[in-house]
Symmetry: C2
DNA sequence: TTGAAAGCGCTAACAG
DNA sequence: CTGTTAGCGCTTTCAA
């Protein structure tokens, strides 16, 4: 298929009456070329529909001009703003974007099986726990540019990280519930095992409780999994413990969806009987019934910033060690506000 | 950065005591290699963490093993299931996935500016109107493998298309409104200019009206733009025309969100005063207030199928001319059902 | 079953 | 300011 002879740099050079080096110079804007020559070359390029072949460039220059994004899975409401931010960042900076999900490819033992790495990109964006620590370490020591999104680096490795202010966001959220809504028995649903976002949100939650003299009660904590379905399960678990609860901090908004559904099924009213709050402010949050009180995380901005850090790392060898983006409290009816 | 000497095929060959041709053969499973030799090579490969460099392979083989996806923009609820399907498809078939948005890069005149095409992928998936017809035509005549997702080919070009049964889905939806809910004055909000999905949905709408002896009234049709904000505007326009309306077919679910909001603002009740129905069944649809009656479009399946068709086209030179996926009527409260 | 060798199309010294 | 040339790392004939 498609063996229509594509124009090569040599065709352009010949037609323009210059050497291929000159053509290369005008394409890459490297080195001096007289305006007249440049114009002639450019016109031949568009005449011939010429586009330099990525593989040949990559081989010769040892740069792919491509950034890889590793995810576990494209799911939930979180990804649309994130991908949007990443795509915007790569496009702004002139990079191609390669996307790969590690979910459902468990037979990844040798690095040869990692479809994204040194062999096809100039740097990698790693989302949360989509890549094992071992591979991160390997890439780090191979000096391959890496930026972590919504997770921190393994101990001792200086890998730039970009994430949101989870702890202070959660702190303000719980402060609000306690101070303005009079809650004292607040449940917390944690994210999936090892999710750092969840860890910091829990820290904010605990800090707020402590600051208000409310003892931490482990019976109020259970797994929410950052997942709608797990959120439902969590509600049933909490209720079966027959402890008093006046609010549920669902860990994130996706979980809140399931939590609200499950509470309604149990015949409880939100927020009259139990308040519910989330984290992220996904697009859907304001359309839930009742609209969800949450913490707005700048998902798209964080994603775009991560690309910028990665490109800086690729180009200059340095990047900010940690980029923490501010969050904002969004009050809606699910917490009892009017 | 990252100038840690990566292992090359030559390193593997030397260490294994064979020629690079043999290494290439075991990697690509092309040609006969004795079991013993193969085993030795494989062990050296994992020992050295060797992974073949995509650029070199691409240059030598004239295949990139990459599929390009062209979108206008990553926005709305539609994209998560679509990207999920595309990613799944490419991964299943062993291709890399390159994503590019054409939105906000209007200065695309010469093909050299199209960041996705013959020069860096083996084939392209084109979503709706993300690529101008001129470029589609150029690629087609250059014999470059192309599959169109949710749009049809320019006249005369045999380019495979994958989409959903928009017309019959809309037909069943409107039949239902008329027959079961007694609606006669049904407004239709069209998608953005040139959106084919919208065109076929409108055909289904008109066909249903005609079948029930209801005259088509142009005052009941206006732009919805497949967009929440435009949906709000559309409602205000319709209401200002002071024609009677008992239902609004919003064109798609994203638009329905804005429509429902706007109706509420106008003091109208949904569905008591006006029923609202959408198309797609995005995840959010069942969480709207009231939950949205809509037509479920198999977005993820269509996306995955498109990848399969494209890979078949790349490998064999042929693919199905048209893949039409069935849709399903989803009844919820926004149309007055209980 | 294996090896030698010729490129693939381009970039990047190095000359001039 | 422009041209010559040596590879980049791999696949793929063609021979052996």
């Amino acid at each position: 298929m498609s063996d229509y002879a594509r124009a090569t740099i040599a065709d352009v050079a010949e037609r323009a009456g210059v050497s291929i080096a000159t053509v290369s110079r005008v394409i890459n804007k490297t080195g001096q070329v007289s305006a007249a020559t440049a114009a002639r070359v450019e016109s031949v390029i568009s005449e011939l529909n010429y586009a330099p072949q990525a593989a040949a460039r990559g081989l010769a220059s040892r740069r792919t001009n491509t950034i890889g994004l590793i995810l576990r899975e494209i799911t939930g409401e979180f990804f649309q703003p994130m991908l949007r931010g990443i795509e915007a960042g790569t496009r702004e900076l002139g990079y191609d974007l390669l996307i790969h999900c590690t979910h459902r490819s468990p037979e990844v033992q040798s690095p040869a099986n990692y479809p994204l790495s040194e062999h096809n990109s100039d740097g990698l964006l790693v989302f949360t726990d989509s890549l094992d620590e071992a591979e991160i370490i390997r890439l780090y020591y191979a000096q391959f540019p890496l930026v972590l999104l919504h997770r921190s680096a393994p101990p001792g490795l200086h890998i730039p990280c970009v994430t949101c202010e989870n702890k202070s966001g959660a702190r303000r959220l719980i402060d609000y519930l306690i101070e303005q809504r009079g809650c004292r028995r607040i449940a917390f649903l944690s994210g999936p095992d090892g999710a750092e976002d969840s860890y910091w949100r829990e820290m904010g939650y605990r800090e707020s409780l402590a600051a208000h003299g409310i003892p931490f009660d482990p019976r109020l904590v259970t797994l929410g999994g950052f997942d709608q379905h797990q959120g439902r399960i969590a509600v049933h678990q909490l209720l079966s413990r027959s402890v008093q609860i006046d609010a549920i901090f669902a860990g994130d908004d996706d979980t809140s969806i399931g939590v609200i559904d499950a509470l309604k099924e149990e015949g409880l009213r939100v927020p009259e009987d139990i308040a519910v709050v989330g984290f992220d402010d996904i697009p859907l949050a304001r359309y839930l019934t009742p609209p969800l009180t949450t913490v707005r995380a700048p998902i798209e901005t964080a994603a775009r910033e991560a690309v910028h850090q990665l490109v800086r790392l690729i180009r200059t060898g340095e990047a900010d060690r940690l980029t923490l983006l501010p969050t904002e409290l969004i009050i809606r009816r699910s917490c009892g506000a009017t």
